[in-house]
Amino acid sequence: MSDFEPKIVAFVCNWCTYAGADLTGTSRIKYASNVKIIRFPCTGRIDFMLLLKAFSNGADGIIVSGCHPNDCHYTSGNFHAKRRWIMFKELMDFMGIDMSRITFSWVSAAEGARWAEVVNTTVTRIRELGPYVSYKELVNKSVEEEVKNG
């Protein structure tokens, strides 16, 4: 398992975390290259179906990150994301998804170093957890059951 390099997708908002990750670059702070960023206008835009889509396409871990509470460029998008997260966390946990593979965090445009830290701790954790093969099994099992039940 030592040579396992996890695939991690980061869903970030344009105004805080994307800018924060830009600052990480400007400050030349190094971090693991396993994380690839997808830009959204706001965490409020992030549909949680996207997380499932990412897992079903082979993601081993996911980071969702936006502005700190009260700092949202659009006033309240991050609060909606947070509320949605609280709801979906329960649901996804119930569905059998390994919630420790999802990092939900706030990184502001001024927190370049914090972004590197969030990435590195997530990568370390996912490395320990290993590849997320059980997601495929989970999905296959439910499909099988559906077939069996007609």
């Binding site: 390099e5 994307y18 290259s33 690839k36 206008p41 706001c42 549909d47 590197a116």
Partner: protein, 667 residues
């Protein structure tokens, strides 16, 4: 069929040092639908942009991916280049290879692989981009300047002189800010009030400026050109029109023992007061927290003595609703006070004061009429020690930055002291002397060479009292870290400049970013120093970081030009990245079921109801419709929509799904 062009930038060596740009361009060139792929040293340069424009025509491109720096840096540049090349600008995307890849990873195979993945993702996205047309919105040609210090004053006057209306908001009873407290200014030693007060009067009298003092921003809604700002005008307990500013009330007020904020607590003021004699507007306010009438329910002496019957005890706060096109934030700074420096005895010993208190002592209009007297017994200090970098450049204190102005004002303080107390001795403890600026270093040299101020390079470990004297213990690092002990009559700390109180709260109301020290963040550290990330909101002065008067004034004029440029347009074009609710043919009209959950989450009230009627005029369906003038494109409604009827242009469901799929799968 899509024909995508990919342009990989080396950014000099910023990208090519860690990413194999040739390999990226070659690999991407082999992908399906990529019609053209190339690399170049500087894509943003003129030849680089020409390369893109030519390729669009030559290869008949339907989409462009520029693989270079952050889109936050150059997206407008390349979208403009595409438009000039004949391609709709919204068919151009950027892959962030610099900030998100080459600058943060080591040079190896994995980094190049990641770069390829980043570009691939954007190729998949751009295939699904649609040609969008910018949205046109009207501009309200009235600016708001928040803060009435020198930066706010400069900005307001410059905007007003271009012929546009300005509304200035100041939270204290008078404009003038910290500059009005200063005695003299470096490096010319001209009197601060003499150059400031005429400008304050100009603000009050300018036909294009409306001034609201004792007022604060309550809330800000809307967007560039179309802000709606609510301002709370705190009750002054005074009819401003009736008041003549005679000042009788302030002399008769029995409550006289309130520490005077303008004098930095070095003097006292009554409960009904004008902050300083040159205040603009020169009308008193009642400080309700300290007024005997509001505390005990009786007194009213000011009302009795007022010759024009202008006192209004029952006056409520007033909320103004203003239509504003652009906002200049000029809320300034504060300095660290007393209890922050226990090691220097600040706050424990009366004769240890901060820089602003010294300004008041040295000011002709100050509590001692310009005579340097120490606070404890009114004696003129014979030995005075100035400690620079009190708090600044001290990560242990949580303030890693340089406050910038202290080196210069400490030199000024030492000179002012020497000019007033010729036989006195002035000592300055400093870390480094940072005197970059026109005639600044010459000024410091003058303090040392002509006024014989004793500069000691080293820090002070402690200040304590012995036999009524202050003992300053420090080290002289230029004499081999030799310990130095100076017996002083007074100590002045050049305390760190910090963000103004309430800055964080205001930033959140304005939706602008701020740094960990609560200073407002500029849109780009070099190329957009007066803009914020929120279009239509600009910065001026020390609210961004500590700066001196010339810098604050320059930036204020810069902000004013930005506002004037905005107001020179009859309408603004805005990025059309807004939400849309789908429409289908009757009888469905839209997949929207009209639950209007979206309406409750929209921060901009941009979601309206649209009714579809049958031939007989009966309403058959009510669905959501986005007002694209109001929509800011956050997409909260998109993620929430249960029937997936709302989509966000530029970040559509198909686009983001395509990105996820591309990113995670082999090619």
């Amino acid at each position: 069929m899509a024909r995508i062009g990919v342009f990989v930038c080396h950014c000099g060596e910023n990208i090519s040092a860690t990413v194999d740009c040739g390999k990226v361009a070659e690999t991407i060139g082999n992908l399906k639908h990529v019609a053209y792929s190339t690399e170049y040293k500087y894509m943003c340069s003129d030849p680089g942009q020409t390369l893109i424009k030519d390729a669009i025509k030559e290869h008949n491109l339907t989409g462009v991916v520029v693989s270079a720096c952050s889109p936050r840096m150059h997206e407008p540049t390349f979208r403009k280049a595409c438009a000039e090349g004949g391609l709709n600008p919204f068919l151009c995307e950027m892959a962030n290879l610099r900030e998100h890849c080459s600058w943060v990873h080591e040079k190896n195979e994995l980094t190049t692989e990641k770069a390829i993945d980043i570009v691939r993702t954007q190729v998949e996205k751009v295939k699904l981009n649609s040609a969008l047309q910018p949205i046109k919105v009207p501009v309200t040609k009235t600016a708001m300047v928040i803060g009435g210090g020198i930066a706010g004053i400069q900005s307001a006057l410059d905007i007003a002189n271009t012929g546009h209306k300005v509304i200035m908001i100041e939270r204290s009873p008078s404009i003038g800010g910290h500059m009005s407290q200063l005695s003299e200014t470096f490096p010319t030693l001209d009197c601060s009030q003499c150059i400031l007060t005429p400008r304050m009067v100009e603000v009050a009298q300018h036909p294009n400026i409306t001034l609201y003092t004792y007022a604060e921003v309550e809330s800000v809604e809307g967007f560039i050109g179309n802000f709606k700002v609510k301002v709370r005008k705190k009750a002054k307990s005074l009819d401003e029109k009736a008041c003549t500013g005679c000042g009788l009330c302030t002399t008769k007020c029995p409550q006289k023992k309130i520490p005077n904020e303008f004098e930095q607590g070095m003097g006292m003021r009554p409960a009904i007061y004008v902050p300083f004699p040159q205040a603009v507007p020169n009308r008193p306010v009642i400080d309700r927290e300290n007024c005997t009438y509001y505390i005990k329910g009786k007194c009213k002496i000011c009302e009795i003595v007022c010759p024009t019957k202008a006192i209004r005890f029952d006056q409520p706060d007033e909320i103004l609703e203003l239509e504003i096109g652009a906002i200049v934030v000029a809320t300034g700074f504060d300095i660290k006070h007393a209890d922050f420096f226990p090691e220097y005895g600040h706050g424990r010993y009366k004769d240890i004061i901060d820089g602003l208190q010294f300004e008041r002592l040295a000011s002709a209009s100050g509590p001692t009429a310009g005579v340097i007297k120490r606070p404890s017994d009114g004696e003129i200090p014979k030995n005075i020690v100035f400690i620079a970098c009190a708090g600044s450049r001290d990560p242990a204190k949580g303030i890693a930055y340089c406050s910038k102005i202290c080196c210069m004002y400490t030199a000024k303080h030492a000179m002012l002291y020497k000019h007033k107390v010729h036989e006195g001795k002035a000592h300055v403890f400093y870390m480094d002397i940072r005197s970059g600026g026109k005639n600044y270093d010459e000024f410091v040299r003058r303090a040392i060479e002509e006024d014989h101020v004793n500069y000691i390079r080293g820090r002070v470990s402690t200040v304590f009292e012995r036999d009524g004297k202050l003992i300053v213990k420090g080290v002289d690092t230029l004499l081999g870290a030799q310990q130095v002990e100076i017996v002083a009559d007074m100590v002045v700390l050049a305390t760190a400049g910090v963000a103004s109180s309430g800055a964080e709260d205001l930033a959140q109301k304005l939706h602008v970013s701020y740094d960990s020290h609560k200073f407002f963040a500029e849109a780009h550290p070099k190329l957009k120093p007066v803009e914020t990330n929120t279009a239509g909101i600009f910065l001026a002065g020390a609210c961004q970081n500590p700066k001196d008067i010339p810098d604050a004034v320059s930036q204020a004029s810069g902000a004013a030009v930005k506002v004037a440029a905005l107001f020179s347009q009859s309408e603004l074009t805005r990025e059309p990245l807004v939400a849309i609710v789908n429409r289908t043919s009757p009888p469905t009209y839209s997949t929207c079921v009209g639950c209007f959950m979206c309406q409750s989450v929209c921060p901009y009230q941009a979601i309206e109801r649209e009714e579809f009627k049958a031939r007989d005029g009966k309403v058959v369906k009510t669905v959501a419709k986005i007002n694209e003038g109001l929509c800011q494109g956050c997409g909260t409604c998109v993620a929430l929509c249960r029937s997936k009827s709302i989509d966000l242009l530029g970040y559509s469901n198909t686009q983001v799904y395509a990105e996820v799929v591309a990113l995670l799968n082999e090619y």
